[in-house]
Amino acid sequence: MAVQTQMQSSRPGASEPAASRAGLKMDARDVKVFYGSKQALRGIDLSVGECQVTALIGPSGCGKSTFLRCLNRMNDTIENCRVEGLITLDGQDVYDRSIDVVQLRARVGMVFQKPNPFPKSIYDNVSYGPRIHGLAAGRDEMDEVVQKSLQRAGLWNEVKDRLREPGTGLSGGQQQRLCIARAIAVSPEVILMDEPCSALDPIATAHIEELIDELRENYTIVIVTHNMQQAARVSQRTAFFHLGEMVEVGDTEEIFTNPRDERTQGYITGRYG
């Protein structure tokens, strides 16, 4: 408790480097999240650049996943969860009344920690999103969407002969790539990834990391990770969270080589976390 209050009093400016190289895609200003009476986020300011990978790192329970889930309003489904502050997508407030949350989640897709394919066929997994959003007219177009999504997720060659088999029968890494294919099938602008590799072995992880690097060309990606090497490898910008605050944000290289805050330094050098 004492640590927490001390942290709060010594809250740093945490201002970002003046201009990110890429255009601004999503922007969070003074975001506070409460679960009941417990405050999980204490005023986060963070901007997400277009076609960039932004990594959120920090010890467990520091609020990175909570923040990630604010970006596509997945927190709406949690009882007693209250979000304050402003989050914009292309300058538009995502918590505005006029925003349709279903449409928002189609634009801001999500990949979860544990691979969670639907217990349906591989084809149905990928085609589900386009089907409910009416993105493909007719079978041929749907086949094309499915193929393209699986190709982009780097899974096509492995599954093209067994599209009718259940998605749950794939290996863990394949399942996670299937989930990524499912997310990109609805042509989102932003993809949120919540520790996408934490349940995977190193080879599958390397596969996903390559994939993230390729996806960067077309999509804006925000990734939460516990693996600092991963953050260093895949991201262009990194934000360090600690106890519900964002301590520091900057270019990944700079955060890892020359952190300004000693808590950041302590974390990335493995002194705590």
Binding site: T77, E79, G109, M110, N116, G129, I132, A183
Partner: protein, 436 residues
């Protein structure tokens, strides 16, 4: 405190006698516990075996019945003196006289009034009905002589099955010595035949045990269950989906949940009283009708369906919901496309268990008049009807010896239905079960 670094002395604790004793005690306790479990299962299975054994041993004889083959003279003078072949005339003829005539022909020596009555008592009153329907179906029989298979009375049947003991004094049994003599004579002649008791399966209820059947009750049960199913499943599943997936978690929903759980424990007769007060007295629905019985049983099975459906919905992993929400499915789509289909095996199991419970329910139906003695086979949801368990209840109440075995037989039929329904539940669950 202790110096663990010192390795010059052996580990004292794990090799001591005290430790060995503790270990032995632990093994003994485990063995005892396992024995208790086996004993408990043994007792439970034993009880079940006694129950089933007593029902089957009492009831299996009801599945066959003794008939007598008599040479019937379809006398035109008796049936249709004017020769009109008018169904009204044919239906009104005295067929009992024909049957009795045929029996008397076999025993010409019987002439005193009381002897003749005793002889007539060997034949079931159903013999007349069966002759009548034969003639109505085929009027060409009139004027011919035919060997016809007719039901014996329940007492004669019981004697032939050995359920009436011959060695007791004749005042203490339902069949006197004269009748035993005639039955033995008929049997010696080969006129007594026994076969599967179709009347038990195809007839409605009757005061005469040899004619009583469960068909009308089975139809009544089917009609009642149809109403129950049609009402309870949509309402129960919708309520469960709303409470589990959409409703906010607050004091009101907590209150509703507590009340649903309490309703599941309310004695079923209370639902019957509610049905009597509301559906019969207030809404004026017909008495003894499957529609009212179905509604009452639906009310009774709603809590079961809601509770099992909620449990099934809860068992669907939240990751599936998140996955669907994450690609922009609305909450209704999440439930309709993913959660409910995955919960379906559980929902089906709950539904079938609730239906099996409803099928075996008696008390609430007594309150709404389904306990009435109803002979006719119900033709619709508003006809007077009764159900299988109520028939069992009424037969168990009847004094005739023959109803004892019929009660057990009806219980066996009801159990067969219940086993079939539970088997269906298991098959459906296995079929739709998915892994994730």
């Amino acid at each position: 405190m202790t110096d663990f670094a010192a390795n010059d002395r052996p580990m004292p604790v794990y090799q001591s006698d005290a430790f060995a004793r503790r270990l032995r005690r632990r093994y003994a306790a485990e063995r005892r516990f396992r024995l208790y479990g086996i004993a408990a299962i043994g007792v439970a299975l034993g009880m079940l075996a006694i129950l089933l054994g007593s029902i089957v041993s009492k009831g299996y004889t009801a599945f066959w019945q003794h008939d007598v083959v008599l040479e019937i003279n379809f006398d035109p003078q008796e049936i249709d003196p004017a020769g009109t072949r008018d169904p009204a005339v044919l239906g009104g003829a005295n067929y009992q006289a024909l049957a009795r005539e045929a029996l008397r022909e076999r025993f010409p020596e019987v002439d005193s009034r009381s002897d003749r009555r005793a002889l007539n008592d060997l034949l079931s009153v159903g013999a007349a009905y069966e002759l009548r329907s034969m003639v109505l179906e085929n009027p060409d029989l009139i004027g011919t002589r035919q060997a016809v298979r007719l039901p014996l009375s329940d007492d004669a049947d019981q004697l032939l099955k050995g359920n009436i003991r011959r060695e007791v004094g004749q005042t203490e049994r339902r069949v006197d010595d004269r009748q035993i003599g005639w039955i033995d004579a008929l049997e010696a002649d080969g006129a007594v035949v026994s076969g599967f008791n179709w009347r038990l399966m195809a007839n409605g209820d009757s005061r005469e045990p040899e004619l009583a059947g469960i068909y009308a009750a089975a139809i009544g049960s089917a009609l009642t269950l149809m109403i129950t199913l049609a009402m309870a499943v949509p309402i129960g599943v919708s309520a469960a989906v709303y409470l589990e997936e959409f409703a906010p978690k607050n004091r009101w929903t907590d209150l509703i949940e507590v009340n649903i759980n309490n309703l599941a424990a309310v004695p079923s007769i209370v639902f019957g009283l509610l049905g009597l007060a509301v559906f019969l007295n207030l809404f004026g629905l017909p008495r003894s009708a499957p529609v009212v019985g179905g509604i009452v049983l639906a009310l009774m099975s709603l809590p079961t369906i809601i509770i099992t459906t909620r449990a099934a919905l809860k068992a669907v992993p939240p990751s599936i919901r998140e996955a669907a929400l994450g690609i922009g499915a609305s909450r209704l789509q999440v439930v309709g496309h993913h959660v409910l289909p995955l919960a379906m095996p559980g929902v089906l199991t709950g539904t079938i268990i609730a239906m099996a419970q409803a099928l075996g329910e008696t008390a609430p139906l007594l309150m709404i008049g389904m306990v009435a003695f109803i002979v006719d086979i119900p033709g619709g949801f508003t006809d007077a009807a009764t159900v299988l368990p109520v028939t069992i209840f009424m037969w168990a109440d009847s004094p005739e010896r023959a109803f004892v075995e019929r009660t057990s037989a009806a219980i066996m039929v009801l159990l067969a239905f219940l086993i079939a329904m539970n088997a269906l539940a298991i098959i459906l669950r296995k079929k739709f079960e998915r892994r994730w």
